[in-house]
């Protein structure tokens, strides 16, 4: 496949006039003008862009194609015919390579429209004596279709598509364009032009934290910066959460709320106590209103996995549970939608933003607020690390599940602290320690998830009986599923000890010490 060459024209240029100039010099056959639209798609967190891919859906000449293209040096192209607009999830596409590729790239994320470009094109071909096309040339006027149906010109250009095996023809055409007509080829990416004209930065959203912090920054200023970023994460995920575009909007929204609450708790010595108390209550409420929908999301996402744990003959009997979960999900989603429209939620955001953007107090009430983040953050992180070790070492095979849950929460708090302040430490070292912690967290997370799932499924089973959704076979299927989950929970519990030992090993302890342990202060003699 030969790469097309682009020759930009001025926006005021007339395409038919340019075509006449070309026809005077080159033996082209012209086709009537045509207009078509190309729709670009990506996930909210730009997974395709991050993977160097572009997904387009184009309707032209009664032909519709969904096409996944590589960018830069990646010239791969996977396409299918698709009459309808692409479905929201890759799983809705016909089976095949494209679905497989998109599934791998998007995972749980929905495909969302990014931009639509309308092109008016005057096509010409160089045809030889055999009637064979040797080169294609297009005069194009690209316009961005804005929401509300307004159009704005992106660019006008000549696009030359040389064909493999006909290099001489291409050379001849290029020579005319560049030497006789004085045009200059220029790489032009239409999607980038469209995004720039809409002030959208591709890859601009990520749920990962990477907040720039200077060690000498006052601790309260640093915390405000972190919390403001988290508030923005909540806000950008709000519309997708309300519209339930995919489960990750609510997930990211909740993570931002949880991180905020963790920052408020772990760095409490940085905030004025009365203000903090007021907002901690408000965020606790926000966390609680989002929980039921998320829980149901998780069960629905795990549903196929649940079915696979059953003998094949019983898999279909679990379907009433899916119906039950879907119905309750819909109810909880409606409740969440209402809660996020309330004045209470709006005020929370406004007041929190007002606090975070208000001028810093000259003489803060707490000592830590005045300290530098480079001093406060490691001290607080070290404190939490020691707590994790203490709690972990106290766990024995006979310890109740609550002890593991407590340790899990502490690990989460430690993880958030490490992520909030990661820019204060050498990237390689902090990332390696986060990885170590993640290994332990996975085990604890699996354990708690399974425990919660077992309790919830028991609860759902009772509820289904009350609501008349339960059949004897479904009850049997759910009992088998519960037993399978219990077995799995025990397996996860059995490997906790080795996972914890791995995390708490001497070499990790030294790495944590080196990074976070505060230097002993000077001795004060009376």
């Amino acid at each position: 496949m030969q790469r097309p060459l682009h020759y930009p024209l001025a926006n005021s240029d007339s395409l038919p006039r340019w075509r006449d100039r070309l026809l005077q010099r080159l033996p082209f056959a012209s086709a009537p003008p045509e207009t078509y639209q190309v729709h670009y798609y990506d996930s909210f967190d730009w997974r395709l862009f991050q993977a160097g891919k572009v997904l387009t859906w184009q309707q032209q000449n009664a032909d519709s194609q969904l096409c996944l293209l590589g960018t830069g040096d990646d010239s791969t192209r996977t396409a299918i015919h698709l009459e309808q607009e692409p479905p929201r999830f890759a799983a809705g596409l016909p089976p095949g390579q494209l679905r497989q590729e998109l599934d791998g790239l998007l995972d749980l994320r929905a495909l969302l429209p990014v931009a639509t470009i309308e092109t008016r094109s005057l096509a010409s071909r160089w045809i030889d004596k055999e009637g064979k096309t040797r080169l294609r040339l297009y005069l194009e006027h690209h316009r961005l279709v804005q929401p509300g149906g307004k159009y704005s010109t992106l660019c006008k250009r000549i696009r030359v598509v040389p064909l493999q095996g006909y290099a001489k023809t291409a050379k001849q055409v290029i020579s005319v364009l560049e030497k006789e007509l004085g045009l200059c080829p220029q790489e032009q990416d239409l999607l980038n032009l469209a995004l720039a004209s809409m002030n959208i930065i591709p890859g601009g959203y990520t749920s990962k934290l990477a907040i720039p912090l200077e060690p000498e920054l006052r601790a309260d200023a640093a915390m405000r910066r972190i919390l403001l970023t988290l508030l923005e994460t909540m806000e950008v995920n709000e519309a997708g959460t309300i519209a339930n575009l995919d489960t990750e909007f609510l997930h990211d929204f909740r993570v931002a709320v949880r991180r905020t609450r963790s920052a408020q708790g772990q760095m409490k010595t940085v905030f004025p106590p009365a203000t903090l108390a007021r907002f901690r209550d408000k965020f606790a409420w926000l966390g609680s209103i989002t929980s039921p929908t998320r829980d149901l999301d998780v069960y629905l996402l795990k549903f196929e996995n649940y079915q696979n744990q059953l003998p094949e003959a019983l898999r279909a009997d679990l379907e009433p549970l899916r119906t039950f979960l879907n119905r309750h999900h819909e109810q909880e989603q409606t409740k969440l939608f209402r809660e996020l429209q309330t004045a209470r939620y709006r005020q929370l955001k406004t007041q929190w933003r007002r606090y975070l953007t208000s001028p810093l107090p000259k003489r803060p009430a707490t000592g830590d607020a005045r300290g530098s983040i480079g001093e406060v953050a490691p001290r607080r992180t070290w404190r939490m690390y020691k707590r994790v070790l203490r709690e972990g070492r106290a766990i024995t095979p006979a310890s109740p599940a609550e002890d593991l849950h407590e340790l899990r929460k502490s690990c989460k708090k430690l993880r958030y602290m490490m992520e909030f302040f990661q820019r204060l430490y050498p990237a390689k070292k902090i990332r390696a320690l986060i990885r170590e912690l993640k290994g332990l967290q996975e085990n604890l997370g699996d354990f708690q998830d399974l425990e919660v799932q077992i309790h919830s499924l028991q609860h759902y089973s009772d509820q289904m009986k009350q609501e008349g959704d339960m059949t004897p076979r479904t009850e049997l299927a759910m009992d088998i599923l519960l037993k399978s989950l219990e077995t799995r929970m025990q397996e996860v519990r059995d490997i906790f000890e080795s996972r914890f030992q791995q995390f708490a090993c001497k070499s990790n302890a030294k790495r944590f010490r080196d990074l976070f342990k505060p230097e002993p202060g000077p001795k004060i003699t009376p």
């Binding site: 055999e130 064979k132 493999q164």
Partner: protein, 251 residues
Amino acid sequence: MKVIACYNIKGGVGKTASAVNLSYLSAREGNSTLVWDLDPQGASSFYFRVKPKVKGGARGLFKRKCPLDDAIKATDYDQLDLIPADFSYRNLDLTLEQLRKSTSRLEKLVKPMQSDYDYLFLDCPPNISLVSENVFQAADVVLVPTIPTTLSVRTLYQLLRFCEKRKYRHLQILPFFSMVDRRKILHRGMVEDPPKTTSGFLANDIPYASEVEQMGVKRAPLATYAHSSRIADAYRSLWSELKTRMDSLPT
């Protein structure tokens, strides 16, 4: 990349029509597709309006003096390329014979294109020769257009016996009925009760149709000028069945 050889020992059975029409359908679906016209008569090249000429000829290509990439020509259709025929292919057997490992030269030559194309169609010359052995070695599927007549079926059995003897274990031989004229008793009888073969006949057959002959006048794949015809439908069904059969092949 799946390599599909359109092959029959017998000539005039619809090999080229299959290669051209099926490769076009493959490309239309967005698959990156290449056709190699191995027949010195150059019918595929003619249909695609490409001059039947390869720089360096068969010798240059197979002795690796001229890169295969340089021989590739884009057709008038998106995603569909062609390696044209060359008159020197008439001596391809002789050329191959002079080379070491003479039965796997074609396989070696197309291997580097694995990642460039999804499908490679080989439009093969009739006859059974060293070229055929190279084709069987390189191909995943041998698609055998078979006219429902005694002689045509006889050559199919010859081919099956040959492949069994040479133990081409990777190869799927898929015959299908071509140029079927249901007015003829012999054709009708054979299509309804096909001869027994290991992999069986494909369920879809290609009827005899004047639109196929028009390909020579239009110099284009059928679907471009007779999109809604019965014969274009037949090729679509055949392609769909062929893909299903190929999906069961290991990648």
